[in-house]
């Protein structure tokens, strides 16, 4: 008797999907579970703790300043990077899209920084462009106007280090979002513009505002959310620009940087608090994703 078709399909399904699911269990579900477990224990320098502390780690995170401060740092960063990235990447996309020649050249130039890592960008920004020495590039430019050199990454009041951090990320990611906008611009049917022209809409801002922007709506939402979620995970440029051989300053610590120094830093590993922090951050971002999912469904419902 041969095995039924259905059984064979079931076996095939697990054959195809199984290897991935095993990996997902070990490297996604297990860590999250373990993290929740550790977050209820005093887990300093151990992964198999024995002192149950209940919600103490959470209470500590939520009442102690640094964790909340890290969320504040993220908010400031997001408030700067999200709108700037949106406007500038859209501007680049529109600029490149309108070109009749040299379009591929400009597209490649703006996209090229995507090849670089955050470490490479940090290096150029920290030791050359915004180097605090008299002859760093930004200081040289300031010098042309007779201004004194500025310690860019070391100035807290006003927080000039934000200029360094934000421009580095802009350089790295604008091209990526420009590519997304370009793809969307190319999909806008030409007849919409013809119709607008027949209706007497002035080319330029009016057409952009009433034809182009509404057609870019789905892409715009995707760009904003992707950008926000990426900013939430910012680590590389903060670690490399703000940190040095003496360590990391007590300010300008976004969530992942804070978690890194709490749970794995040289001052002793506190995996209990680190895990509690990870759980809180995960819940927060999951909430954002869920709300976004709802908004999307709501969108579709409204359109149909």
């Amino acid at each position: 008797m041969s095995v039924s078709r259905k059984t064979r399909d079931t076996l095939a399904f697990w054959g195809f999907v199984g290897p991935f699911l095993i990996g997902l269990a070990v490297f996604a579900y297990l860590p999250m579970g373990w993290s929740v477990y550790l977050s209820f224990f005093d887990a300093r320098n151990t992964v198999t703790p024995s002192v149950f502390v209940g919600l103490d780690n959470y209470a500590h995170m939520l009442t102690d300043g640094p964790f909340l401060a890290s969320l504040g740092t993220f908010s400031v960063f997001a408030l700067a990077i999200v709108p700037l990235t949106f406007v500038l990447s859209l501007a680049l996309a529109v600029g490149v899209h309108q070109l009749r020649f040299a379009r591929a050249f400009f597209r490649s130039v703006f996209f090229l920084p995507f090849a670089c890592s955050y470490v490479v960008a940090s290096l150029v920004w920290k030791t050359s462009l915004f180097s605090g020495v008299r002859y760093g590039l930004a200081n040289t430019v300031l010098g042309l106007f007779g201004a004194d050199p500025v310690a860019w990454t070391g100035t807290v009041d006003p927080p000039l280090y934000w200029i360094v951090l934000v421009t580095a990320r802009l350089w790295l990611q604008l091209g990526f979002y420009m590519i997304l906008f370009l793809a969307a611009l190319q999909r806008i049917p030409g007849r919409l513009y013809e119709a607008a022209w027949l209706d007497g809409a002035k080319p330029g801002w009016q057409v952009f505002r009433h034809i182009t922007l509404p057609q870019l709506r789905a892409t715009s939402v995707a760009v904003l959310l992707l950008n926000l979620i990426n900013a939430y995970q910012a680590f590389d440029e903060f670690y490399n620009i703000m940190g040095d051989s003496r360590g990391y300053p007590p300010f300008a610590r976004p969530p992942l940087v804070y978690l890194y120094y709490t749970s794995l830093g040289s001052g002793g590993q506190d995996l209990g608090r680190g895990s509690a922090g990870a759980v809180l951050l995960a819940l927060l971002i999951a909430l954002v994703t869920l709300v976004q999912g709802r908004l999307f469904r709501f969108d579709r419902g409204a359109l149909s």
């Binding site: 195809f16 991935f20 990996g23 490297f27 860590p31 373990w34 290096l123 997304l180």
Partner: protein, 276 residues
């Protein structure tokens, strides 16, 4: 002069200025990488080093506390293994979800999607705990294996395979191929472009990754190139010219990818950026 001309001039000026700003860091990498240490912060700054210091290469590759050549090799091995492994594992899973009828397929798929709500970097502490318990610190396995199981790649593969022409697969079934045979001999060969797009994105992501290698690759012998660069950068009194040269060398492989595979890269970016 009429308005259209003014507008065109303004637009071109803006684009050219922007392009110059975008290229400036690349120029600095080369200029400073080939300069002497003093020239980088000298008051009389020259556009190009007065004398090109080729010996910087030799010095970079013979640094004592940072094994730079080794770190390049490590990154190449990690990027290659991770990309190949990810393509196999995630394409199989994506195909299974897209095409193989199974009663609980939807439920399982939702369990996979649920993990997408939380970016992997947010859970680096617990992942570190798991990997260190496996004894994979400062070990190739710790760098490569956790990155093979990308729920997002499975999602992208599934979307792609849902649109794959069924007639092609049915022709294969008629010829007596098994599901595995159909996948290997018909689906994969006809999806080269999509596989290439995912591969390019994966290579770049792996090569440029920093946080995970930073916590896993603890002994200098296991450093990836990004960890080595960061080590140079955050060291006491770094040798700036070697630092810039190291960065220039580190981006070379990815810039080559850009030059020759940009078509796939753009496809990968739009697929992953907009479907997500």
């Amino acid at each position: 002069m009429n308005g259209a001309v003014v507008k065109a001039v303004l637009r071109w000026t803006a684009l050219i200025v922007a392009a110059a700003l975008f290229l400036l860091p690349f120029y600095l990498l080369l200029r400073n990488g080939l300069a002497s240490r003093a020239e980088i912060t000298a008051p009389d700054w020259t556009l190009w080093p007065r004398q090109v210091h080729w010996e910087n290469f030799a010095r970079l590759f013979s640094l004592e506390d940072v094994p730079f050549a080794r770190s390049l090799l490590n990154s190449a091995v990690v990027a290659t293994l991770q990309t190949l492994g990810l393509l196999v594992i995630c394409s199989l899973a994506g195909y299974g979800f897209a095409r193989i009828p199974y009663r609980h397929s939807k439920t399982v798929f939702y369990a996979v999607l649920a993990t997408l709500m939380i970016p992997t970097s947010v859970t680096f502490v617990p992942s570190f705990v798991v990997v260190s318990s496996l004894g994979w610190l400062s070990d190739l396995r710790g760098l490569v294996i956790p990155g093979l199981f990308s729920a997002f790649s499975v999602f992208l593969f599934r979307q792609y395979f849902l649109d794959f022409p069924r007639e092609l697969e049915e022709a294969g079934r008629v010829d007596g191929l098994t599901r595995w045979g159909v996948f290997r001999r018909i689906v994969v060969p006809n999806s080269r472009g999509f596989f290439a797009a995912i591969a390019v994105i994966s290579v770049i992501g792996s090569w440029n990754a920093f946080l995970w290698p930073l916590i896993i690759a603890q002994s200098p012998d296991s450093w990836t190139v990004q960890v080595a660069l960061s080590g140079l950068l955050t060291s006491q009194n770094p040798q700036l010219n070697l630092l810039f040269l190291a960065a220039a060398v580190s981006i070379l492989p990815i810039v080559l990818l850009f030059a020759f595979l940009q078509r796939y890269l753009v496809r990968g970016v739009t697929e992953s950026g907009l479907k997500g």
